[in-house]
């Protein structure tokens, strides 16, 4: 197991490196010169040359790449292209926000999807199953940004219960303020995730409940509750957890959109802004962090398999 984890960690480093390298060269291959954007259309060629030299963008792209890699290995992500902000601190500020939204979205989705999925599976083809499936279908079809705007209109503009934008930190504003600012964005991305998750819980549980060990469990006289939770649900969790790993990507990409709708500068909005500004160091840094999160989330999923299903062993 330890060996497996070490091997996976080495793989992860290679994947992250590949991703960072790809982004580095892709950024420079797509059209648009950051210098012109920084100086505005009335720039002089001298000013452009001076700025290009100052930012090290006058050097060959391979030289730039090795300099960036060298700094990266020393833990230095550099500064934003205007020089005003360190990439590291921008990411450290943004990361807790994105993670907060993603974590709460995950909790909301699980809290909705698991009971709903169980109910739908147990009362298969009933009105309840049909209702839950219909809601889930709507949830999957609804773009998160649109749902976010609808939530703002209902809960902020009409009812005035929750803030329509921004983020409050736990340390400065307290737990309640933090939570209040996160509910709507988390719900907006959590809804789509809940719908997918619910479908997997329902399908997994249906399959498990029709298997032989469930019949055995029932014939041993276990309560229906114990049969469903301990035997049925646990065995249906493998596909659910696989989806959860993949869904980390959905939650992160959902954050890109939802952070713009709710004006929260997490990793997502940081990335969008940096892409628009052709802020090379910031895009590279943000993508690197997203890649790390994604790779490790999937590593954790693989390890979680062994905890849930003792039959799975890694060598």
């Amino acid at each position: 197991m330890t060996q497996y984890i070490i091997r996976r960690l080495i793989h992860s480093v290679i994947i992250v490196w590949g991703c960072a390298t790809l982004v580095f060269f892709l950024l420079r291959a797509i059209p648009g010169d950051p210098i012109i954007q920084l100086l505005g259309p009335e720039y002089t060629p001298q000013a452009a040359d001076a700025l290009r030299a100052k930012l090290g963008l006058d050097e060959h792209v391979v030289v730039q790449y090795f300099r960036w890699m060298g700094n990266l290995l020393r833990g230095d992500l550099g500064s934003s292209i205007t020089g005003a902000e360190s990439v590291r601190s921008a990411i450290l500020t943004g990361l807790p926000r994105t993670m907060s939204i993603a974590a709460l979205a995950f909790l909301i989705a699980t809290a909705i999807a698991v009971p709903a999925g169980i109910m739908a599976a147990l009362r298969r083809n009933s009105v309840a199953d049909f209702a839950v499936s219909t809601v889930a279908f709507i949830g999957v079809s609804m773009p998160s940004f649109w749902f976010g705007i609808i939530l703002i209109l209902i809960f902020s503009v009409e009812l005035n219960w929750l803030p329509s934008l921004g983020y409050a930190s736990i340390s400065d504003d307290g737990l309640w303020e933090w939570f209040k600012h996160l509910i709507l964005p988390s719900l907006a991305i959590g809804a789509g995730y809940a719908a997918i998750l619910m479908r997997f819980v329902r399908a997994g549980l249906l399959e498990a409940l029709s298997s032989d060990y469930i019949r055995t469990a029932r014939s041993k006289g276990l309560t229906e509750r114990r049969v469903v939770i301990a035997h049925g649900l646990r065995n249906s969790l493998i596909p659910v957890i696989t989806v959860a790993g993949i869904q980390v990507a959905l939650l992160l990409s959902g954050a890109v959109v939802i952070e713009t709708v709710f004006s929260i500068r997490g990793i997502g909005r940081l990335l969008v802004g940096a892409i628009f500004d052709k802020d090379y160091p910031m895009v590279q840094g943000a993508i690197l962090v997203v890649a790390v999160i994604f790779v490790f989330a999937n590593l954790i999923v693989d390890i979680a398999y062994t905890l849930i299903d003792p039959r799975i062993k890694y060598e």
């Binding site: 954007q37 292209i81 005003a84 628009f276 500004d277 052709k278």
Partner: protein, 544 residues
């Protein structure tokens, strides 16, 4: 000894140069005597306002201000290249030598008066005594010399350096006297290089602040000299920042205690944030939310004339667009009212040229102008046929911001047989291709102009930096230069109008619209003075 015929530059002297006054002066006399009367007249109206307001207004409170930008890369005046950031944010953090009144006339700011030599080359500013920066340092004429040297340093690569290119000498004979000499006459100099906000090229920079903070940190939380000062601990690039009242401002403490600037990139979020009461004011009301906010009794919308123009241009370096008939066919095929309805919900002003409505001294509304580009599909079709436009597939470059306009234009231009290919891209790619002249058609224009020259010389002079579409007409060059060199406002207006008629007649652009400047706030926000595309907040207070 001055007569009506001689060019007398001293009319630009002041403690107050209103456009209207200037016009009257120029008509009435040679104006030296009149201008000298102006020197030493009463204090600026903005300051009087503020002092009068102190009696009735509630002092204190925090204004939460939603600002429709995703991020602000820098607040260093010399590095800001967005007019909105300059006019609406910098103007609260930095004072200028002069500032604008409601009609974009020029009134004192840090300089209580100024004189311009008769040949128009030498500007002598007299600063108010006892000025200070936010860090408590005294602000003297020498700080402007430092600012000038910093801005024009080629290694510093300031996008504002070109505004100071004509300066040959800058001197500070004493702490409150600043003398600037230029190599040629430059009518818009006060507005574009010395004004609070847009004239950021000379917004005074504290040398000690730069030495201590470095350029990068200064760009995040600059030490200014305006009514509000940034709290460095609150600055978050892409999030916003807080500004506190500056007790040491020459005009006295502003009425608000604090302004919280919250950046909101998404237009619909900005509208909702105001409706939900999460902000007290938005900088610019997105037109998509205009009706929604107008229906809200608790919200006040204030509309000022725009100082901008937007239009469609065709690259004359690429046939058939070198043919004036081809260009005019396009111009006449465009139904500007329809563009206005579809793209701006009918809120924009259709345009017949580059002279923006905010410049009342020279602007003429469309109905008073003989418009060679008036919508006429029959004539457009005839011209298009003669120019062989049928079946052509010109590429129109733009950004997501232009999408409603470009899509409307594509559909309209199909009426004359053009199959316009929309090429929507990111801003930097768009700017790069636009600057390089790599396009058939482009939506282009000028925004947040301090003077009509901003939206004129750069676009119609053969060597203008924005003229990437190969327009070259010696007569246009002559008019563009002449309006810069004219000190007589009436004469200048005539020259600008003549130039506008010339470029409209040659269809250098198919002129489209002027975007109105609309701000919105709750009714309890009081004391706001609408100055086109500026937001001076020192007189704002909260009636709560």
């Amino acid at each position: 000894m001055s007569t009506r015929e001689t060019i007398d530059w001293s009319v630009l002297s002041g403690p107050r140069v209103s456009r209207r006054t200037l016009l009257n002066v120029a008509v009435a006399s040679g104006s030296v005597a009149y201008a000298s009367q102006l020197v030493g007249a009463a204090a600026a109206p903005v300051r009087q306002n503020l002092n009068a307001l102190r009696q009735e207004a509630t002092q204190g409170g925090t204004l939460r201000w939603g600002f429709g930008l995703g991020q602000i890369p820098t607040l260093d005046p010399a590095q800001v290249n967005l007019g909105i950031v300059a006019g609406e944010l910098l103007s609260n953090i930095f004072s200028g030598l002069v500032q604008f009144d409601e009609e974009l006339g020029i009134v004192p700011d840090l300089a209580e008066e100024w004189a311009v030599s008769e040949d128009g080359l030498v500007y002598t500013f007299t600063l108010r005594p006892g000025l200070t920066f936010h860090n408590g340092d005294t602000l003297t004429a020498n700080d402007f010399i430092y600012t000038y040297e910093r801005t024009i340093n080629p290694d510093f690569a300031s996008p504002q350096a070109n505004k100071l290119a004509l300066i040959t000498d800058i001197q500070a004979p004493d702490d409150t006297t600043l003398v600037i000499t230029q190599s040629a006459t430059n009518a818009p100099f006060l507005a574009v290089a010395c004004s609070r906000g847009p004239g950021r090229a000379l917004a005074p920079i504290s040398k000690r602040a730069i030495d201590e903070m470095g350029d990068e940190q200064f760009g995040l939380a600059p030490i200014g000299c305006g009514p509000f000062m940034i709290d460095p601990a609150t600055v978050e690039v892409g999030g916003g920042f807080e500004m506190n009242a500056f007790e040491g401002w020459y005009g006295g403490r502003p009425l608000l205690d604090k302004v919280v600037v919250q950046l909101v990139a998404e237009a619909s979020t900005l509208v909702s944030a105001l409706e939900a009461g999460d902000v007290d004011m938005v900088d610019i009301v997105p037109l998509i939310g205009y009706d929604q906010l107008a229906a809200n009794d608790e919200v006040t919308l204030v509309e000022a004339a725009g100082t901008n123009w937007e239009a469609l241009t065709m690259n004359q370096a690429r046939p058939p667009w070198d043919n004036v008939d081809a260009r005019m066919a396009v111009a006449k095929a465009i139904d500007r009212d329809d563009v206005n309805d579809k793209a701006f919900f009918g809120r924009a002003i259709t345009s017949v040229g580059f002279i923006a409505p905010a410049f009342g001294w020279v602007y003429r509304p469309p109905e008073e102008v003989d418009d060679p580009q008036a919508f006429n599909l029959d004539e457009a079709r005839q011209l298009a046929e003669a120019a062989g436009l049928d079946g052509l597939q010109p590429g129109l470059i733009g950004t997501a911001d232009d999408q409603r306009v470009t899509e409307t234009l594509r559909s309209q231009l199909s009426e004359i047989g053009l199959d316009v290919q929309l090429d929507q891209m990111q801003t930097n790619a768009y700017v790069e291709r636009r600057t390089a002249g790599d396009y058939d058609m482009v939506i282009l224009g000028s925004v947040v102009d301090a003077d009509p020259d901003d939206g004129c010389w750069n676009y119609f002079h053969s060597t203008g930096p924005s003229n990437s579409y190969a327009y070259n007409n010696p007569e246009a060059d002559r008019l563009a230069d002449a309006q810069r060199q004219s000190s007589n406002q009436e004469e200048r207006a005539a020259l600008l109008q003549e130039l506008q008629a010339l470029v409209a007649g040659e269809a250098v652009y198919a002129f489209l619209y002027h975007y109105p400047d609309v701000t919105g706030f709750y009714t309890y926000v009081q004391g706001y003075t609408p100055i086109p595309e500026q937001r001076y907040l020192e007189t704002v207070w909260l009636d709560q």
